[in-house]
Every structure is written in structure tokens, then in C-alpha cells.
Amino acid sequence: MSSQDPDGGNSVEERPKWNNKAEYLLTCIGFAVGLGNVWRFPYLCQIYGGGAFLIPYLIALVFQGLPLLYLELAIGQRLRTGSIGVWTSISPYLGGLGIASLVVSFCVSLFYNTIVAWVLWYLFNSFQEPLPWSQCPLKINNTGYEEECVKSTAVNYFWYRQTLNITPTIETSGSLQWWLVVCLATAWCIVYICFIRGIETIGKAVYVTATFPYLVLTIFLVQALTLPGATDGLIHLFTPKWEILMNPQVWLDAATQIFFSLSLAFGGLISFSSYNQQKNDCERDAIVVGVINSATSIYASIPIFAILGFKAHTNLITCLNGNILALTNAFEISDMNITTENYDQWFDYLNKTHTEKVFNLNLKTCNMQDFLQQSASGTGLAFIVFTEAVISMPASQVWAVLFFIMLFSLGLSSMFGNLEGVLTPIHDLKLVPNWIPRELFTAIICTISFLVALIFTMGSGNYWLEIFNGYVGSVPLLIIAFFEIIAVVYIYGIRRFSDDLEFMTGRRPNIFWKVCWLVISPLMLFVVLVAYVSVQAQTHPNYPAWNPNYEKFPDTEMIPYPDGAFAVCVLLSSIPVMPIPIVAIYRLICRLSGKRSTSNPKLPNPYDNKGYVVNS
């Protein structure tokens, strides 16, 4: 008789798999290498003593980053499900861990794609001559320039007023800014088109999004080194100040930077490696991804700081020229007699002979070191500092377009991992009815995310985004990672895990990995978690508000969070990790009250007699 399945064809859908190893590696690298590598690491390097910062950074990479990375890739590959499935397989009490990862991934993808939307807005505006952030707009009646712009700078004005249209406090919500809504919709559409066919389309997209940033960084590197002031910036960045290593804050920031930079505990890496075949050397993959991520950070900081050095140099020249003009006009000196080269001699001479008159001119002190220290991280670096530097470069449109396409690729490839951490677990849990095709389900998730993320397009959106960034994307991840490593090493068992690794890679993990997993990494994670929380808890959190009516404008006003926003901060830190205890308690209650779940394979069914095969 025919041994065919009665309903014809395959009843079990095959798990999708990567076309080739390169796509998998590029996707993981793209997920790990994100905006933080470009705009957070160089800043940390600069404020924490330049070259000296590399020491805590590399120590954290070797003892904390790589072991956790190897662990996540290994369990995903072995258990072949997304984050919820993996933790439920290890122990049903740990299902909450996967749900926590899912919630965090969802929240992070909300605000991360908003940042991508801002990058798109700047990218669309870079195709103009002159660049819109290079000059102040005129007032309505053409009598002068906009006051807010004149008091701060054109670049600040474009970011705070023409892009964000920011409100003075977080309580005033303002309205939805339609141009940001449009850019946000574009960002979600682009994410959707890359996700349509799952890893099939993602795998194609990462060939571009993961490699393009390196190309742009190299172009910027070559160009930046030809600019004046570049070497000053690089020397300032890399000069090591060894005494800064005494400060524990440096070690804390190095550990958190490595942790967040590698995108651990999101569940995205587990999902990506679950599409691999089981016999794959995940140890080598982990080392490759980790090392490339850190190398990218270091490589990115070179052109960034060369360009910041150029910007400091430009600011210095502008400052000097302002002083020169004031002196030339006040003392009726022939035009262009005082130049930047002989400025000091002229100044000394005039100061000695006409001290009071020079004093009344209120000349600014122009010091290169002051300008070099004015750096920023995060959106401030990309949208304020860098855009200002780009204006002074020749052919500024080209550089602006290149820079923002690079940021867009970095953000998009990280979004793949973020959203994958949401889609794969839901799909694996079979929560989605079969009649909804995968494309429709992805579209529904993208639409919901877009609608929720509209809060970030309001006037106060930037303040809310900073809250999300600071509270969802930090403590919950540390907690999840801590429980992950405890779960695998102590609940799953290091011996069983080593057996799995031998099955997958062909060799048992060596003593270094074992020591890290058993002792060093959990300890480091715990210390970092405790230190981070205690540092946060010491001060009542406040936020920098852009208030044109502030008396010290254009400095930002530091306002403490109102109670409503503070409650949101606490909720955002605690709700994602709630599932961990809740699910564990729920399962405990189920077990104690004697209810058996129907799909429990451990208990034998007394009516299942394998000796008697029913044949029709």
C-alpha cells in the first residue's frame, strides 16, 4: 500500500535556512555593528583618556562580551527555535526569559526606527544647495534672522526647531510633526520590504547594509586626513591618559558599552543562529562577530575624530577672525594686516599699549583645546556636530549624503535583529493562525509598531525617546543576560552544554570558555548591574530641555522628570523583566496544583502500547 501521507505533500513546514554562511555572518555583524559604534564609542574613548580606554574595553570584550555571544549563538543553533522556545526547552520555568527578550526587542525597535527616520529626514534634506542647516532662515517680515537661530547656531536651530520642533518641557506634548510621520512611515516600509520573505530577503539586504558603512568610513578616512586640523583631533583622541583608569566609572562604561554594542539579550542573535544547520562552528562565528564589532568601533573613531579635529580647527579660525575683525575695526588697522599667524603678536602689542580699549572689545579666547573638547555623543554628534563639520568641507552635499546613507545602513541592519527578536518567537509559539500568511503577519507587526512610535513624532518626542533609550535599553537587558547565563550554565548544565558544543563544533569548549561561563561572566554581569543601578539611583533623573526662553539659552535647561514621566521610567525598567518571575510562579502553581499540560512528553501514557500498531 502506498505509504504516502493522506493529505499530500509535507505537513511539517521546513525551518527556513540561510543561503550561505556569508549571509548569516553579515546579518549578525550588521546587527551588532550599529549606530552606537559610530557615535558612542568615539565619545567614550575621548572622555576616558583616549588610548587608555582601550584597555578596559578589550578586557570587557574578552571576559564578558565573547562568552555571552558564544553562548547565545550556540543555544540558538542547537535548539533551533527563537528566544521563547529556547528558554522553554531548557526549563519551562524560564519561559519568561524569552518573553522578556521579546518585550525589550519590541520597545527598542520602536525608538530605534524613529532614529532611522530622523536619519532619513536629514538624508532627504541633503540633496539641496545650500544645505538647509548652513544658514539661518529669515523672520517672516524679512527684517532679520530668526532670533532663536541667531542665539544658538543654524545647525542647532535646524535640529531642534525644523526637525523636531521640540517643546520646552516633556509635559507639553505638542502635535504630530507631519514631516517626521512621513519619514517614520518610510522607515517602516523599508524595514517591511526587507522582512517580507524573512531571512531570504534579509540575507540579500545585508550584502549592502552591512558592507556599505565600511566603504563610507574608508572614504571619510581618506578625505578627513587631508583636512587641516585632522591630526590635532586624532592626537587628542588617542593620547592615553593612564590615570583615568583609576576611576571605576570608566570600567563600568566600558563593560556596558561592550554589552550593548554586541546586541546581547535581545533574542535576535538566538533567532538568527536558529536558522543555521546544527553542525556549524559557532565558536568561530562568535569570535569573528565580536572582534569585527570592536574593530569597527575603533576604525570608525578615526575618521570621526579626524573630522571633529577639522571642525575644531574651523571654529578656531572663525573665532580668531572674529577677534581680528574687531581689532582691525577698532584700531583702524589696514585690512588683512592682522592674520591668524601674527595675531598673537598684534594682540600682545595692542593689549600693552591700549589695554582698556582692548578690554572693552570683549574678545573671545580662542583655544584649540577648548574646541576639541566640545564633542558630543548620540544624536548630538550626528545631527549637530557632524553636520556643522560637513558644511565647511568642499562639496558638502556629497559628504552629507554619504554620511547619512551610512547611518541609515547601520540603523537598518540593527533593526533587522531587533524585529527578528519579535517575529521569530511569536512565529515559533504558533500564536499566529495558519491562515495568516507570514507576509501579512509581518505587515501587522510593522503597522502596530509604526502607530505606537507616533508618540516619538510629537513635539516632546525626543524627550520620550531618551527615556526609552535610557530605561528600556539598559537595565532590563543586563538582567536578562544575567539570567540567561545562569540558566544555561547552572540549570541546563555545563556538561550537557559542552556535549552540545562538541556535537556542533566537533570539539569540547576549552578551559577559558568554561571558566568565563561559570565564574567570570556572571560575576562581571552582576557587578555591572548593581553598579549601574546604584549610579542611576543616586540622583533624581533629569533631562536636558531645549527652552528658547531659558535665561542661559542656548545651553539646555536641566529639568527633573515630572512624576508621570518618572513613573514611566520605572515601568519601562521593570515591566520587561516581570515575565521572568511571573512565568516561573505560574508554572510552579500549575505543577503544584496537579494540572498536567496536554503536551507534556515526560509522563508516559499508560494507554499507548507501542507493540500494537494500528493499520487501516
Binding site: F124, L138, C189, I333
Partner: protein
């Protein structure tokens, strides 16, 4: 020819002498001018009806900078007279109606404008300002300078609003990008639907073909009449001797 007190005829040019500072090659210095006394009284720094002019030739033109001398000053006076004529269309202003004093090496100087009817009467500050504003662009062009390098202190240049195109350029770029993305989405979705249909059709055809072979005796697609009798195997090809 002696330059008398009044009137200052066109044949009598005002003379300037450039004194240089003893301690530097281009030091701070004040200019002497050989103006008639009355003219000097009319023109002085901080005059109620006068304006200060500041010229920065080297800043504007760097290598192609020309030297400021008496001829350039004469040109300036002529262009101001032109500006006054353009403003007061009826009154015939002359070069000698523009009186200049306090020239420095910066280059900066003060000027006042006298009325062509009465050489002692000064044209008011407001009228001079209007005249200069009206012809500012012509004066700038005459000297190859700009509003910033040819400054009339207290006459602010009118700001030219930047050209605003009808559709903001960013909307155009956005339109292109979103159009491409939507086209891609539709293409991928349609191809996914077509692929599923093709797979379903193929599967159905396979099933149909197998069913036909087993039930209807449809072998190689050729229909045989009658029912296939399994009891009589067609194994001629094996038993040939």
C-alpha cells in the same frame, strides 16, 4: 590754482596725504586732508548727518585686490553722487557735493552730502540712507565688493530671502524613495502569491497524475480503453527467450 573758501569748483581736487607710522610697516595712522575749512566743519566724525564707510578690499579680493588711492576715492564720491541723483531725480548732484573726511588706512572714512542748491546745507541722514539703499547693489558692483566688505555703518543691508522652490526638494527625494519601496513591496507580494498558486497547481497536477495512473490506467498520459487488469502483468519484455 588756489582753492578758495567758496565755492569748491570741480577743478579743485581735495588732496590727501598718507602718513605712515614710524614703528611698523603698516601702523595705525590718521589721514590729513586738505579740505577747505568750511567743508571740514561740515564733515567730521560722528556728524549728525554723516555716515561712516568701511572698505575691506583685501578680504574681498585677496590676490586681485586693488590699491585704494585718490582715484578710487573720486570714483566713490562719483558713485555716491549717482546714488543721490537716482534718488532725487530732479536735483543734479555733483562729485563735490560729497564731502569726505577722516580717512584711515583701514580703509574707512566719514562722508556727508551737501545739497546742490546750497553748499552749506547738508542732506538729512534719512534721505542719504534711502539713496544708498536704493543703489546699494550698483555701488557694490562698481567696487567689486559686497555688502559685508563695503560697509555703511548704521545702514543695514536688506536681507535677501533665499529662493524657496515650490516643492521642497526633500519631498521630491522622499517621493522617489517611497515609490521605489512600494513598487518593490508590490512586486514581492505578487510574486509570492503567484509562487504559492503555482506550487498548489503543481501539487494538484502531480496528485491528479498519480491518481490517474493508479485508478484509470493513464500511462504516460495516453489513455487506454478499458480497465487495467493487475492480475495480468505486462512483462513481455522480461520473458523473451
Amino acid at each position: 590754482m588756489a582753492c578758495g573758501v567758496l565755492p569748491v569748483s570741480s577743478g579743485c581736487a581735495t588732496t590727501h596725504s598718507f602718513a605712515s607710522a614710524p614703528w611698523a610697516t603698516n601702523g595705525v595712522a590718521k589721514m590729513q586732508n586738505g579740505l577747505p575749512v568750511l567743508a571740514q566743519n561740515l564733515c567730521h566724525p560722528d556728524s549728525a548727518n554723516g555716515y561712516k564707510v568701511r572698505i575691506s578690499i583685501k578680504t574681498a579680493l585677496s590676490d586681485k585686490a586693488y590699491e585704494w588711492n585718490e582715484n578710487e576715492m573720486y570714483f566713490f564720491q562719483a558713485s555716491l553722487a549717482f546714488a543721490m541723483r537716482t534718488y532725487h531725480l530732479t536735483k543734479p548732484y555733483n562729485v563735490n557735493n560729497i564731502i569726505v573726511c577722516n580717512e584711515t588706512q583701514r580703509v574707512s572714512f566719514w562722508f556727508v552730502v551737501t545739497s546742490p542748491d546750497n553748499h552749506t546745507e547738508l542732506i538729512s541722514k534719512a534721505e542719504v540712507e534711502e539713496a544708498v539703499r536704493k543703489s546699494r547693489h550698483r555701488i557694490n558692483s562698481a567696487f567689486l565688493l559686497t555688502d559685508k566688505t563695503l560697509e555703511f555703518i548704521d545702514i543695514n543691508p536688506t536681507l535677501v530671502p533665499p529662493a524657496v522652490p515650490d516643492t521642497p526638494p526633500w519631498l521630491i527625494v522622499f517621493g522617489v524613495v517611497i515609490g521605489a519601496v512600494f513598487a518593490g513591496i508590490i512586486a514581492l507580494l505578487v510574486s509570492a502569491v503567484l509562487q504559492k498558486r503555482k506550487k498548489a497547481k503543481d501539487r494538484m497536477e502531480d496528485e491528479q497524475a498519480e491518481e490517474d495512473i493508479h485508478v484509470n490506467g493513464l500511462e504516460n498520459g495516453i489513455g487506454l480503453d478499458g480497465a487495467y487488469n493487475r492480475g495480468f502483468p505486462d512483462d513481455d519484455r522480461f520473458t523473451k527467450l
